[in-house]
Amino acid sequence: MTVETAVVDPDLEFIRLLDEGSGHMLKRCFQCGTCSATCDLSPDTSPFPRKEMAWAAWGMKERLLNDPDVWLCYQCNDCSVRCPRGARPGDVLAMVRREAIVYHAFPAFVGRWASQPAAIPLLLGIPAALLTLALLVRDPIQQALGWAPAVGTPILYAYSRMFPRWLLNGVFLAFTLLALGLLAGGVARLWRSMGRLHGAGGPSRRARGLVGSVTSVVASVLMHDRFVKCTESRSRYWSHLAVFFGFLALSLVTIWVISAPYNPLVRGAFIYPFAFLSPWKVLANLGGIALLGGCFLMIWDRMRERDHASVSTFGDWALIGTLILVVFTGFATEVLHYIRLEPHRHLAYFAHLVFVGALLLYLPYSKLAHAVYRTTALVAAEYFGRTRGGGRPSPEMAGTAADNAR
């Protein structure tokens, strides 16, 4: 060996954390490889989660947190159910992902808050404060710029008067850009480590280029075909499908609402506000129902599965809870608006905006970040040819691959 092997210094804190997350079963792994063999998503060369289990038991924190493979796992827990030692590889990987989100988060202290129940008031307080600030600066700015508030509308006190379009769009666009900007570092690190570890330095010959990879991953995500491969928990397919498409529908409606007024091709009824039977309104309501239903199905699954496979963390509950609150406050805003319940509907609207704001602001720190990291990992895997039946491991990984082949 010409390369001097780095000295491993196991991180005891990290081990304790992962061990806690896996129900104190982590160290039981004896590296039989049943997990990797049973996994339908694991690639053929240096497959997961066996190697991750060894790294976890040895507290190799850096290596795990930069490991792109953990994002290829969908935590179907086929491996946890079949592990002869009950070491719960699926949960360990979930814990690693949670820690990876915290690890990649910038600034780091927000990442730590986002994983603590005690920080909930603070976490909700920040968007609430920012929105309150927006309300306070609304009139002075409008007056300074000479934008008169709209008068004579049938609505007594329209939501659009409370948060004029320029303010609403400005605040939430800022939130979104901030979140995406903060995620960029982690995404870049993930992409590089996938290339270094499994791409042997460059894209695979089998690969379809970046555009092809993205197309293929998007198709796969829309189809939820990786969930289909899970044999142990089929209902997760349905719950995630509902949440995913509900979320997608609501996001599309939101983007439309924001962008349509500036689109010269769109006129009339297709500009917010919509009539109740407008296709956009229908899509939004259906999306809300799907999201809510999916969330409740997830809760049901997690309660039921508690005993045998999956361990649920604060992060899991926080995301589900936030989504439910977003939808719930959204529907409350809508219903209260139709019955003109004043001023409650404005309070509901404000609450709705706080939760949406939290969802966006904490995207880099919450479990929702998986949507970005996992997608990145999938595209990178596709791009570098790290899929089943393909892939060229780097020299660093070659040993593990040969080891697994034995």
Partner: protein
């Protein structure tokens, strides 16, 4: 010999339907002149009862029972004082041959002739009774966990015990341990060693006498009659001072183990922070914070390297079985020393036998203990004073390096045994080197002295035995035993090695072993007091007698006896120590003068059986093969072949022998002169993993093959007419083929020309 002879032919089990019983009885009465011959329907239960009734009514003194295998009779099945010669007419004839067949009938008749000849030649057995009373106390050498347990177990059974310990106090290695690995469910927590309580119990026991700082400087005699001299090892009284002399009946050697020096590829001894597991245990036992020997800094991380030389052909080829558990235990010590302390264990195979698996799991669960398979390639000291361990092929990745404060090597266990035979050989070589007849002889002897020099002064028991002062040992220094089937035995009757001197083992296994050894010792003194043999011919009351007037002092018997039974006088005449004897008859097979015999087993008795058969004329084309089968495996295998109704060649005449080592080559020449066409000898497996019940018998028969070939040459017969085979009891299916193949060989060479003479 005017005793009345009787023959009982059993007709049950289908025997009556398969044979012409009348003709068989005629052989006994007309041909052999037996006055009483009758048939019985069975030789078990009521059948056996009627046989015994007939024996008493007719006043029979010598009896042949042709029926079931003699192995089926319980002890005392026949009346006391009657000489019985039973054979397996059922298993060896009717069950392995077609019914009402001429050859089957001839086979049965020949066996009857043979066993009538045998019963005529046998003598009544008078058990050995020494002039002095048999002592039933037990000497235990070694006061570690095994020796202490043996002493207590023996005393609990009511036998007096003398316990001799080399060091100043009892306890051995276990007393040096901080804590002990868990010994009972749930196998999670370390335990107190319990050695102090055990020592106190021994102290209180009135039947146990303890000698500390003492060793056995002389043990003379035989089971029941061992005279022991115990001398001081130099603590307190000057070394060599005689502390006591006494007599015991049996001895348990529980001398334990010594840690092996680690393999020299690891820098043990060159770096002070690399220690062996025994030294680490002492560091922890000493109490206080765990510190580095080199600079006294606190130890926060320790690497344990398993098989520090064990299981390495070049160094210490076997596994010591406890090092893995010890390292797991010591890893817990490390973890107990500080909340953030780390312990790394590098192993090739983690061995935690039985329920110790639970302990292994408990250690695995600890977040600060890191276990991996891997070959440790290098241990190096950094400028910081820490050690960096590099391992290859590890589980978390290919190569792995860890930085630690201390490295602990799992040192293997070396038995504290002495190679009695080598010590004797060294002594002989020294004499030869000085007084050898030729220059070459002296030079060769000097080379041998150099080779054996390491055995100089290693004596432990100091037995006064012709074959050396200690138990014969195996390749790795463990006392020789019939390791596969009877591991408790040794090759010195009445001396039982136990605990780690016998085989690497942990404390729990040592206690179990100790209890076993105590029982073996008690069994030995009890059986010896009744004049009976111990294992494997347990209960045999016959013993060898030597007709010394004809002895030529060739020393074959004294050298070849696998159990060192015979001492020698200055001229080399064998001196029988009968209570040491296992009754295998190897001396009988060895003796060229044929002066050794047992009342029921001798050169003459077997010779008369061989000669008793009827050899058909050459023209009848019915060859005859003599098969000398070992009673321990080959004969039971033949019984099994019969039970499974395997077809056995009808031309084979089987004579059971106590051991293939008891086969005197004169039987082979007698058989061939009589007109047998070939002789086949079947014994137990020999070699490193031998199964011979008498250790060397089967092997001796093989080495005596040269002798046999010489005899064949003199008779102008082909070497191929004598074959030697090894057979395990479980290989009974092979037996018919062995006979058939030999028959093919004989067919090639044709009939024995001696038939015509």
């Amino acid at each position: 010999m005017s005793d009345k002879i009787g023959v009982f032919v059993c007709t049950g089990y289908g025997i009556g339907q398969a044979l012409d019983i009348d003709r068989l009885c005629t052989v006994a009465t007309r041909e052999c002149g037996v006055p009483f011959c009758t048939t019985v329907e069975s030789c078990e239960g009521p059948g056996l009862q009627s046989i015994n009734d007939d024996i008493r009514r007719e006043g029979l003194r010598r009896v042949v029972v042709a029926g079931i295998s003699p192995r089926r009779y319980a002890e005392g099945a026949f009346p006391e004082g009657v000489i019985v010669s039973a054979f397996a007419l059922r298993e060896h004839v009717t069950w392995c041959r077609p019914a009402n067949d001429e050859d089957t009938q001839m086979l049965a008749e020949d066996y009857l002739r043979m066993y009538i000849a045998r019963v005529k030649a046998m003598e009544a057995i008078v058990p050995f009774k020494p002039e002095e009373a048999i002592d039933k106390s037990v000497l235990v050498v070694g006061g570690g966990i095994t020796g202490m347990t043996t002493a207590l177990e023996t005393a609990r059974a009511g036998y007096r015990v003398r316990l001799v310990e080399r060091s100043e106090r009892l306890g051995g290695w276990l007393a040096k341990q901080h804590r002990s690995i868990p010994t009972r469910p749930p196998f999670r927590d370390l335990e107190d060693t319990g050695i102090d309580a055990l020592a106190a119990e021994i102290e209180r026991d009135p039947l146990i006498t303890v000698y500390t700082s003492a060793s056995t400087s002389r043990i003379e005699g035989a089971p029941g009659l061992f005279d022991v001299t115990v001398t001081s090892t130099g603590n307190g009284k000057p070394a060599g001072t005689v502390l006591d002399t006494f007599r015991v009946g049996a001895i348990v050697q529980a001398t334990g183990w010594t840690p092996k020096e680690p393999r020299d590829t690891l820098p043990y001894g060159r770096l002070p922070d690399i220690v062996r597991n025994v030294e680490f245990e002492e560091m922890v036992k000493a109490g206080g914070p765990l510190i580095r020997p080199s600079d006294g800094r606190e130890v926060r991380s320790v690497a344990f390297i398993q098989c520090g030389g064990s299981r390495d052909k070049a160094h210490h080829s076997h596994c010591s079985s406890i090092c893995c558990l010890t390292s797991l235990k010591q890893a817990l010590y490390v973890r107990e020393s500080h909340a953030d302390a780390k312990a790394f264990i590098f192993y090739e195979f983690m061995r935690t036998p039985g329920q110790y698996e639970d302990f292994y799991r408990r250690v695995q669960e600890d977040p600060g203990i890191f276990l991996t398979r891997g070959e440790v390639a290098d241990v190096r000291r950094e400028d910081s004073g820490q050690l960096v361990v590099t391992a290859r092929n590890t589980m978390p990745g290919d190569d792995l390096r860890v930085r630690v404060d201390l490295v602990v090597l799992a040192a293997g266990m070396e038995p504290n045994s002495a190679d009695g035979e080598a010590i004797r050989a060294l002594k002989d070589a020294k004499v030869q080197a000085e007084r050898g007849e030729s220059e070459t002889q002296r030079r060769e002897a000097a080379e041998k002295v150099a080779r054996l020099q390491r055995h100089e002064g290693t004596e432990i028991l100091n037995l006064v035995y012709r074959q050396g002062p200690d138990l014969p040992v195996l390749e790795y220094g463990f006392p020789d035993s019939h390791f596969i089937c009877f591991p408790y035995e040794s090759r010195r009757t009445g001396i039982y090695p136990a605990g780690t001197v016998r085989q690497p083992m942990d404390g729990v296994a040592s206690r179990e072993d100790a209890a076993g050894a105590a029982m073996k010792a008690i069994q030995c003194v009890e059986m010896t007091s009744r004049g009976e043999a111990v294992h494997p011919r347990a209960g045999d009351r016959s013993y060898p007698s030597f007709f010394l007037q004809r002895c030529t002092q060739c020393k074959r018997c004294t050298e070849e006896c696998p159990f060192g039974v015979l001492n020698e006088d200055e001229k080399g005449t064998p001196l029988l120590r009968a209570t040491r004897c296992r009754r295998c008859g190897v001396c009988m097979g060895a003796c060229p003068e044929r002066i050794v015999s047992f009342a029921d087993y001798s050169v003459d008795i077997v010779g008369s059986m061989i000669k008793a058969i009827e050899v058909p004329e050459e023209s009848e084309e019915k060859p005859r093969i003599l098969a000398l089968l070992c009673e321990n495996d080959a004969v039971p295998a033949l019984d099994l072949a019969g039970e499974h109704r395997l077809r056995i060649n009808p031309f084979v005449r089987v004579v059971p022998v106590r051991c293939l080592g008891s086969v005197n080559t004169v039987w082979v020449s007698e058989a061939l002169s009589k007109g047998y066409d070939g002789v086949i000898l079947i014994g137990c497996k020999y070699g490193d993993d031998y199964q011979c019940h008498f250790i060397k018998g089967s092997e001796l028969a093989n080495t005596r093959g040269a002798n046999i070939r010489e005899k064949l040459q003199k008779m102008a017969l082909e070497n191929e007419r004598v074959e030697l085979h090894q057979l395990q009891i479980s290989e009974y299916q092979r037996l018919p083929q062995i006979f058939e193949k030999f028959m093919d060989v004989i067919e090639q060479f044709g009939m024995n020309p001696f038939k015509e003479l």
